[in-house]
């Protein structure tokens, strides 16, 4: 169980890394929201699952309750995170920010 | 206390603080002030002050940023410095 917890956490950290680097690398804020919205919630799911598993290694009622609470956090985040993403995106559209389009010619030059 | 974590978070707190007062857009300053209180919350939980961390989490994330945004909404976003 500990091993699977470690694997989950490492996977989660990997996704978190992807999210952060994505936020830095993508060209405009619309596309930055893709890694921010998806990879972060996925990373959270993975790390949280890992930590819930780690909590469950001594199998008792308080541990189960704690693990359930951790999963409750994940559920909440999976409801709220897309909403936050959407809210930011909507704000951007209303603020009149044009989306970035691939400058194909420039890349070739 | 976990000092290796603590020292990173402390430096991030300072970065956030400096950024929050040097941004020219007041809405951005308010949002960064939110980030500042996230960091503070982390710092306090690292130091073991759970109740303080809880308070800071609820205040910083829930209320004070909203107050700032509401005030900026009702006044202006412009700032010269």
């Amino acid at each position: 169980m500990t091993v699977s917890a470690v694997i989950f956490i490492v996977l989660g950290l990997f996704f978190f890394t992807g999210g952060s680097i994505g936020i830095l690398r993508f060209p405009d804020f619309y596309s930055r929201l893709h890694p921010a919205g998806k990879l972060d919630s996925m990373g959270l799911l993975m790390t949280m699952a890992g930590m819930a598993l780690y909590t469950l290694r001594d199998f008792s009622l308080p541990a189960i309750i704690t693990a359930l609470k951790i999963m409750l956090i994940v559920v909440l985040v999976f409801i709220t995170s897309p909403t936050a993403t959407h809210a930011i995106l909507d704000a951007g559209v209303r603020a009149g920010l044009g989306p970035w389009t691939a400058p194909e010619k420039k890349v070739k030059e | 206390m976990i000092w290796p974590l603590d020292i990173i978070i402390v430096s991030m707190v300072i970065i956030c603080g400096i950024a929050a007062i040097s941004i020219k857009d007041l809405l951005g300053a308010a949002i960064l002030f939110g980030a500042y209180s996230f960091m503070m919350c982390l710092l306090w939980s690292v130091m073991g002050a759970v109740d303080v961390a809880f308070t800071e989490a609820s205040v910083g994330a829930g209320v004070s940023t909203v107050f700032f945004v509401a005030a900026v909404f009702r006044t202006s976003r412009r700032s010269k410095d």
Partner: protein
């Protein structure tokens, strides 16, 4: 003047920096701060009050008087915001916008015009109107009751886990603020009017101060919850624990109401008709 102030500030900083070398080092278990009074709290709070969370025990019982005034500070902040920015309702409103529900036509009613309130056919809309956002609206519908429940949980379980009246109150207030953000201010005011938020905020502090005065009239000192044992019918240690719960719920009510009250005033610039 400004530069003088800055120079003074940096002198202060330098002074603080040099004196910091005389401090006991960070996290030192043998520093005077953790040897004199705090061991008493750590070692006796459980037997004195039967509350495992020492912070709650100290907050609401040993130093309960501080907390009474902390709540009073929050209350006076709410009152101060109201006092400063609230604009009288009797002023004739500027142009208002209404939408006819059946047709969706939007009307602009100038200052002094007849307002179609109360007919049921029209819906008042903000002058800076945004359409109903399904995603945000649904999320808030799902999440708001949960946050409220969580806030009550935090208040009720302040004895055993971190949290307590203040944190729970802020979360509860934030839930109502979230509702206001996701719909609009008028709909929130229908559910929790300004008057009720004011009354609740003063009621919350009143619960706290009233508990203290009750203890005083029962013959023990101010805020000595031991006196509650006779009323609640429990022994004195449990009376302290129950007294803490009562006081914390008072704090929670006050804080939640004050947060909402301040939000109402700040977001509508005191007019209380259109919010963020």
């Amino acid at each position: 003047m400004r530069t003088l102030g800055l120079i003074a500030a940096f002198c202060l900083g330098g002074l603080l920096f040099f004196i910091s070398f005389d401090f006991p080092s960070w996290g030192d278990a043998l520093s005077p701060a953790s040897r004199h009074v705090s061991p008493y709290y750590i070692e006796h709070s459980l037997e004195d009050t039967s509350v495992p969370n020492i912070v709650t025990a100290v907050l609401a019982d040993y130093r309960g008087f501080d907390t009474l005034f902390e709540t009073a500070v929050i209350f006076s902040a709410g009152l101060a915001c109201f006092f400063l920015v609230r604009v009288s309702e009797r002023q004739v409103p500027a142009a208002r916008f209404y939408r006819h529900l059946a047709t969706g036509i939007t009307f602009r009613i100038e200052k002094g015009g007849r307002l179609p309130e109360g007919t049921g056919e029209f819906e008042r809309i903000d002058s800076l109107w945004v359409p109903y956002d399904v995603i945000i609206g649904m999320t808030c519908r799902l999440v708001v009751p949960f946050i409220q429940l969580f806030a009550l949980y935090v208040i009720a379980h302040g004895h055993h886990s971190p949290g307590g009246g203040f944190q729970g109150g802020v979360i509860f207030g934030a839930a109502i603020i979230l509702f206001a953000i996701s719909t609009n201010l008028r709909r929130t005011l229908k559910r929790m009017s300004e008057r009720s938020s004011a009354l609740l905020s003063s009621l919350g502090v009143l619960i706290y101060a009233g508990t203290g005065l009750l203890c005083l009239f029962m013959g023990a000192g101010f805020l000595n919850y031991r006196a509650l044992a006779a009323i609640l019918g429990v022994d004195q240690v449990a009376a302290r624990s129950d007294g803490i719960l009562i006081v914390e719920s008072g704090v929670g009510i006050a804080v939640a109401a004050v947060m909402v009250w301040i939000y109402y005033n700040l977001s509508s610039a005191g007019k209380q008709d259109e919010g963020l």
